[in-house]
Symmetry: C2
Subunit: 213 residues, 2 copies
């Protein structure tokens, strides 16, 4: 299997969710100059069955050695590469309110391959300003801007009542992947990628589990 | 079924994840002064099967009327109440880096019942400062501070390599619910509530689905 073929594999979502756990763990081991790690060790540390770990890692271009396990540094690099964290992917933020500007200023995202190059908003007081060095444009300019810059990823941090119309506009402007931070369940055409980060649903889970809602 | 009994029900996680979608939709309808909504309408709008919606809403203290559906305003209130979004829950942020300070400044969380009352950090240059009106203390003070204030929810926005030790410290200091924003798979005792908001896993899903990782 070549690297490109691998990268084009549509992985099951649960696998993609676990791979970053393995990555953070092996990065830590790598920082501690640990040389090898077995799926049994990863299993103990992360509370995931070791057969599952072996299966998840089988998508990668790396093999563990019998009784020794995986080479830590190589496993970290392969995971980063496979997850796309060591390439830069340009993105825009639509909705430069508190969450939007937070993401524009969060240098952490760069370590995961996300490079926010522009913000868009409807409010005249922020248009023409910049946030963390990233310029903010009028939302009306999105289509023209996209034609010029070819960016495909839009991060939606608009008020919830604007979620669907903004998504429609982003898609009409040529965006092909939406990262939706609003609690709204946005409908998109089949060829558009969408990831929902439902921060507020997680709060509801915490409240419910605490029995204090 | 009384309200209290309902609220103490441990709901299936998929149900809790869907309820905020229904809430954002019916809140929007309520703003448009729509009076009734059926599960069929919600189904069409949100792309969830209407039998599933009826089942999810059966946990709530509300019943739809045949042929008319649910009273929009009451459904919105019941959902907010049930999800715990209309009570204030105090929380602390541990790790006041870019993501931590963003959450401390995000007024949006208040609308979902989360009230951040303190930040904790290890860096002397931020200790004693305040962020969005919220004071930042030394992490060493957490246990004493918790005994005095009795807050149970800790939001973890520390660097990934500090995730587990910080979680252990938070729990030892009396926190009983952790909202983990690090990509680390934290282990906690059974009686501690944990919610993982894996922002970076979502990025990996976007890259993979775009075939551009």
């Amino acid at each position: 299997m070549t690297k490109n073929n691998e990268n084009q594999t549509i992985l099951p979502e649960p696998t993609i969710r676990r791979l970053p756990w393995y990555l953070s763990y092996v990065r830590m081991l790598d920082n501690l100059h640990v040389e090898y790690v077995s799926s049994t060790q990863i299993s103990k540390e992360l509370n995931v069955q070791s057969s599952q770990i072996a299966k998840d890692l089988s998508f990668l271009n790396i093999r563990g050695k019998t009784r020794i396990g995986y080479e830590v540094h190589r496993l970290a690099c392969e995971l980063e590469d496979f997850l796309g964290f060591n390439h830069q992917h340009d993105a825009v933020v639509i909705g430069t309110g508190s969450l939007g500007t937070a993401l524009m200023q969060d240098r952490g995202l760069e370590h995961y391959g996300l490079n926010i190059v522009a913000g868009f908003d409807v409010r005249s007081e922020v248009i023409g300003q910049s946030v963390g060095g990233v310029p903010v444009y009028a939302i009306d300019e999105l289509a023209a801007w996209q034609r010029e810059h070819g960016v495909s990823i839009a991060i939606l941090t608009v008020p919830v009542e604007r979620a669907q119309e903004t998504a429609d506009l982003a898609i009409a402007s040529g965006m092909t992947a939406l990262w939706n931070f609003t609690p709204y369940r946005i409908r998109v055409p089949e060829d558009v990628v969408i990831a929902n980060t439902s921060i507020y649903a997680h709060l509801a889970i915490i409240y419910n589990r605490m029995g204090m809602s």
